[in-house]
Symmetry: C2
Subunit: 121 residues, 2 copies
Amino acid sequence: MTVSFAEIKASTPMVFESGCSTRVILDHIMSKWGVLVLASLSDGTRRWGELRREVDGISEKMLATTLRTLVDDGIVHRESFPTVPPHVEYSLTPLGRDLMERMLPLIGWVAEHADTMVARS
Amino acid sequence: MTVSFAEIKASTPMVFESGCSTRVILDHIMSKWGVLVLASLSDGTRRWGELRREVDGISEKMLATTLRTLVDDGIVHRESFPTVPPHVEYSLTPLGRDLMERMLPLIGWVAEHADTMVARS
DNA sequence: CTGTATCCAATTCGATACTG
DNA sequence: CAGTATCGAATTGGATACAG
């Protein structure tokens, strides 16, 4: 049973309106770096430096911005340990794990088909 | 059965590399306007003007760019009828329908939870 | 109706340097 | 180690005008 977009719009009519909450959250989690950070975290807790290395090509600025946004949205949990040197861990919240259950099949599909699709152009 | 990101990476090791095909396609379909255009098309064939109205806030330039990209990727089919005035129809290809089967649950989830999430910040 | 072309504004982004 | 601050480059994006 697949839900149609028409049904989604019917239940939440504002979904398509510019600036609505759905659009805002969509932008956060579907952003260039948001997807990749979330994907990495879906495999388990990560430290700042691990994310920096694992998400190939991300700058410190973008990692910081992306993480702060996702933490504010309640998707990512940030836990800092008052040690010297500092130790900070990032992980998915229950909400974030729920989200990634829907996102991973999509990422998997893209990983499977991307080569064929790019070859076309 | 949910696939883990680790498994996805294992089967397609380049998934996380900057500039790889997966990243390119991910950027196309997860882009600000790409998601919305695809969502609209998932409900059926649309003409240029219909998309322009239905995707609230999109400019002609961005609609043109987004559509061309998705057509090139083989996700969207473009059919133009040689009439005066011109008549052009856009629809999902089989590949596109396959993709949207994975994307719609995600969009639905976001539509459901977005209000709570934004309220937090 | 379905676009394209151009120009300009806004935003994103990366590199670098620096701090607790 | 885990960030922040700043700056300039690059990209995106919108408005407008116009063409087939």
